[in-house]
């Protein structure tokens, strides 16, 4: 009877403890501590399954409305997307299931008064993220409806990937980790202007390229990634806390991923006429046998769906470097 045993049942009970609302955290710790005294693999699995059940259907009178609302909303989103076009069928089903699962867990995790606290501290970020997710979905549906070739996804991989990533964005924006709660106000104050600056750089890159043939559109993306490093460093310096800088970077990444997709697809749709005259686009489109507009929409849609994953990760990494550099400098310049 010495060290706590690390196995899959323990991981399950840890997940169940995480999913419990704040005011039930002690019960999650109690389950974990009891698991250490359960002997035998089968008994541990049974115990873990019971704890997962407690997390999925916690004893909380009054939580039913949240769960019913979450399921209703997920069903409404799924049905609307399913009805939009056959190209969105896989996405609609995957997104509805994931939204329902997330909504159920999120409703369970809300402490009494949790919704009020959520609104009070992060309305700007939550609103921007919701608008961003809606924009991503709307722009995707528009693209695959207007340019059917762009929506071809025989294995459904892009559709499922998009559903998973968008649910992740919603979860990160609406139910951030508990450690982030003290920094939500700071993160919103720095992240929103940072994303606006990044958006200006992306737009400038595309427009300068199309209007004057000035360089390629590629320069603006690396240039924009300097922004999270700078804002994270500024937040760290202002608050004398590296964690503040890191959470600013995380929040910037969250919003930047959505903004990058939305601005990229809007510029693509607005520029299909330009691409129809662009020799390299015409060449590539002819190679696959489609018109240049469908080709560029399909190409950019795929690339930007993947960017929904790498853009926030890269933004967070660069921001974390900026925050730590300033944090180290601050520590070194402090008198002993």
């Amino acid at each position: 009877m010495s060290e706590a045993r690390r196995d899959l049942p323990r991981a399950l009970v840890e997940a169940a403890a995480w999913a419990l609302p704040d005011h039930r955290r002690a019960w999650g710790q109690a389950m974990l501590a009891d698991l250490d005294h359960v002997e035998g693999l089968l008994a541990r699995w049974r115990f873990a399954a019971g704890c997962v059940r407690v997390a999925l259907v916690p004893p909380r009178p009054g939580g039913y409305l949240g769960r019913v609302l979450a399921l209703g909303l997920a069903a409404a989103v799924g049905v609307s997307l399913y009805a939009a076009t056959p190209a969105t069928h896989v996405f609609a089903v995957a997104f509805a299931w994931l939204l329902a699962g997330y909504g159920w867990l999120a409703a369970n995790r809300l402490s009494p008064g949790g919704l009020r606290r959520l609104r009070a501290t992060s309305a700007a970020v939550a609103g921007a993220a919701l608008a961003g997710v809606a924009a991503v979905v709307g722009l995707t549906v528009y693209g695959v409806t207007r340019y059917p070739w762009a929506g071809e996804d025989p294995a459904g991989l892009f559709s499922i990937f998009l559903a998973v990533v968008l649910t992740g964005y919603l979860a990160a924006a609406l139910t951030p980790p508990r450690a982030a709660l003290p920094y939500r106000g700071v993160a919103a104050r720095y992240a929103l202007p940072a994303v606006a600056a990044m958006g200006l750089l992306w737009a400038a890159g595309t427009l300068l390229h199309q209007a004057y043939g000035w360089g390629t559109t590629g320069w603006s993306v690396p240039a924009s990634l300097v922004v999270p490093g700078v804002v994270a460093a500024l937040a760290t310096r202002a608050h004398r806390d590296v964690e503040a800088g890191v959470w600013v970077a995380a929040c910037t990444g969250l919003l930047a991923g959505l903004a990058f997709f939305a601005s990229g697809m809007m510029l693509t749709y607005a520029s299909t006429g330009w691409y129809a005259r662009d020799p390299s686009t015409i060449h590539d489109a002819l190679a696959v046998g489609v018109d240049p507009a469908s080709y560029i929409v399909g190409d950019n849609l795929g690339g930007l769906i993947i960017a929904l994953l790498w853009m926030p990760l890269l933004t967070l990494a660069i921001g974390a470097v900026g925050a730590n550099l300033v944090g180290d400098l601050h520590t070194r310049t402090q008198p002993d």
Binding site: M1, S2, M31, D36, V38, G50, R53, P59
Partner: protein, 90 residues
Amino acid sequence: MALAARPADWRYGYELGREVGLKAGSLYPILIRLADRGLLEASWENGPPSGRPPRHLYRLTASGLATAAELSAVAAAERHGSRRELRGAW
């Protein structure tokens, strides 16, 4: 009733579940509801074995004991009543 049998003792959740034949998925919701209603008090154990987190201990509060006694009396009266009804039926 298992908690009321030894009212002064603090009991572990898992052992309590085994004693009354309840799995974790049923046991914890019951304990949580009892605690929410002020019928059960919970405490963290002191000095757990090294490398192990402290465990939750439970016992009934005074009002929990009173409720248990009340329920026990009702159950006994119902048992007595049903035996009389059965005798009458024969």
